[in-house]
Symmetry: C2
């Protein structure tokens, strides 16, 4: 293996694309804890979840055993429109950092939704359509998930109702138009359209919203409409399953050149990207075949892994969803409005939470100006203007590569570049103008959230 | 050759990327007419152009003979960051249109500038840097060229001054921030910064600007600064040369599968994309090796080929540039402010103008609501949200495919998808809200422009 032979971008052929998703849970000794019914405190069964989720997705959600789940042909055809995504060797960034490290990134932003979210959106919309449903409801934070779902629904002819976190709705008006182009209806959350929205607005007038609150509204909207179900872009086991395509493709591309990463880095909000990227590698580690250093990177303003607690909590602010055992800041936690969109969720995927708890995964956090500094350096040398979310991983990868410069280590670093920042220019503008501040929640603020956690 | 074997996306490997640009002029029997010095009426020579352009670019501009011009290694390395671009088989669009036609598009939008403009930007910035210059100046209309140049200059460490057509500057504030991210300085045009800008503002207070006017400002800015030169994103022979990479890659990709297009369609503003896309195919036709049906698609609001005259005219509104023989609406022509950005140039590449004049190329035009209708259909089935510019080609390709449905012809259609519309959501919003109108200039308005053409 010589680095001279490795192209800037490694593309798999369509024949080499994965035929099945990989279910990481099958290889976990300690499985993620089950969702609990908040009324009874008992695990949610198939029938309990049917009013909210599509049948096939519930099966995937509850399946801790099947290692490989075939990707239906229709989904694979859709994937072919924008996948396989490139695995990029960051030659220019390496040169800029003067590092002996070898940096690779799996770039998921080359599609109109601008992120990896489309991987799960098309799967969830497909199963909804297959079940004969009329439409789906969802929430969106930075707008990437909503756009992805709108694209999938537009393609399949499903109705799509999106509750968009109000601060993103206002910061990113163009996102709304992209979703409308694909035929979706977009409502800023909290809204007066749902009972839970009205309640939250009464309690917190002037709130800029949160993902947890938008989830509550979308769940209520699905439950109160005939032929609708709720779909979610992160956190859930099924989403990590669909996102395993990121890691499977990345691993296949690296395998072609005999490259084995030492370190795998991803940004972490609800965990969809990180969980998908690491899954096949983590599987090897769980099966004792190989060791990797996995690093989750989160914003210091919403630090669920690094400063949260591992406990059962509601998935949503309105407390209409089941309880999940996860690293959480408390379901009422709302990050500072100053925080530039994305990675705003109070909790973390139960799968990743369990792995973190069991010591398979490290986590770190950065304040947002550190993240935008890295984003700008990356944009200038690698050409891609990254999403603020993805830039958390960029920052961590750069810091690791700089450490290698100092130690002389030739580490191979793989990180997930989840998306592009084309709809984040308000945040970039704030950064350019020096108007971006780095608010970090105090211990007392976090403690107040922990005290309200449900007793299970 | 069976269509089953053709993947959704054909990627060349890095080894298969072109090593040289193709200079279409070498195969033209009637060469494009030379640029003229407006003061003397004589052809511009190397020395005449040196105050404005870089030396190597002047050589390329004046070279009507060398068929292949090698691409320097540094440029090829930069190309590898975002090229080869995919050649996409539009299976979903074919299905949607129920057409027997086979539709392919060469997608140039998968880079942060969002368009093909980066292909020439890096070349021009590279030669400026190689000549030891400090920086470059330019104009930008829809903002794609300015972004591309900012990216190229950011990468090479060159200073970059961009004069942005005022209506685009106002409609696309985020474009400015992307350019700033790459370190460029952006000024709305006409501005008070230049003599020509002040003059145009005095004559037309409240003008929303035009490409021709922004060009004048950028040329003046370059000429009045030590160590600066002017660069242009379209129209010029050198730009078509650099953009030949689009057609070369497209042809190589089609050749791999033995596919020969019957028809090649591109949107046409100044001609950079169309000229690049068609060049190797047009070369075959000029050499008598094969026949193709070439179609230029322009906006009905700025119809230089379909309603302009073939004459010597200034390249810019301020009349500081040389005269070029081209199809033109007159250098004072400014399209309606209602027109949604892009393809706003009053003239057309002299190379394409000559070919059109000689009957090698057809042209047609569409009003903008026709274009946005096509854009929305395309976005929903092919997943990519297209730029309004590119959507002109989409519309024409769709109409051709629909004709095939009616006649049963199995035509193979190739079109250029030059870019994405992520920064055009204001225009999409107008379209969604039914606020987009279809202004077409009257014959009298056009006649007024023709009467002011310079006498040569």
């Amino acid at each position: 293996m010589t680095s001279e032979k490795i192209p800037y971008k490694i593309y798999l052929s369509e024949d080499e694309m994965p035929m099945a998703w990989y279910n990481l849970r099958a290889d976990m000794t300690t499985k993620p804890a089950p969702l609990l019914n908040p009324a009874t405190g008992k695990p949610m069964e198939f029938e309990d979840l049917r009013p909210v989720f599509c049948d096939e997705l519930i099966r995937q959600e509850l399946d801790n055993d099947t290692r490989e789940i075939p990707i239906p042909q229709e989904i694979r055809d859709f994937y072919k429109m924008y996948r396989p995504s490139p695995l990029v060797r960051a030659y220019c960034l390496e040169e800029k950092l003067q590092t002996p490290a070898k940096i690779y990134y799996k770039f998921e932003g080359n599609n109109t939704s601008g992120s990896h979210k489309l991987n799960s959106a098309i799967a969830q919309a497909y199963y909804a359509k297959a079940q004969g449903l009329k439409g789906v409801t969802t929430e969106t934070g930075a707008g990437q998930w909503g756009t992805a779902l709108a694209m999938a629904c537009g393609y399949l002819g499903l109705d799509c109702l999106v509750y968009m976190v109000k601060c993103s709705y206002e910061q990113k008006p163009f996102r709304r138009e992209v979703m409308r182009t694909y035929g979706a209806r977009v409502t800023p959350s909290p809204s007066m359209e749902t009972e839970v929205g009205r309640r939250i607005l009464a309690e917190h007038p002037g709130t800029t919203g949160s993902l947890g609150c938008a989830i509550s509204e979308a769940v209520e909207a699905a439950a109160s409409r005939e032929g609708y179900r709720y779909v979610l872009g992160s956190v859930l086991n099924q989403v990590l399953l669909h996102q395993s395509i990121i890691g499977l493709e990345a691993k296949a591309a690296l395998d072609k050149y005999g490259v084995v990463p030492d370190m795998i880095i991803g940004c972490a909000g609800g965990g969809s990207n990180l969980g998908g990227l690491i899954s096949p590698f983590m599987g090897e580690m769980l099966r004792g075949e190989r060791k990797y250093d996995f690093l989750a990177v989160e914003p210091a303003s919403c630090p669920s892994l690094t400063r949260g607690v591992f406990a059962y909590d509601f998935c949503d602010t309105g407390k209409v969803c089941p309880l999940a055992k996860m690293y959480t800041l408390g379901c009422n936690f709302i990050p500072s409005a100053n925080h530039a969109g994305g990675l705003r969720y109070h909790g973390m995927s139960p799968v990743l939470s369990q792995l973190y708890h069991d010591g398979y995964l490290r986590a770190t956090s950065y304040v947002q100006t550190q993240v935008f500094e890295a984003a700008e350096i990356f944009a200038r040398c690698e050409g891609i203007l990254p999403a603020p979310e993805s830039s958390h991983a960029i920052r961590a990868a750069m810091d690791e590569a700089i450490k290698c410069r100092e130690t002389g280590e030739e580490k191979t670093i793989l990180f997930g570049l989840t998306g592009t920042g084309y709809f984040d220019m308000v945040a970039y503008e704030k950064f350019h103008n020096g108007e971006m501040s780095d608010y970090i929640p105090t211990d007392d603020e976090l403690q107040a959230g922990f005290e309200k956690l449900p007793q299970v």
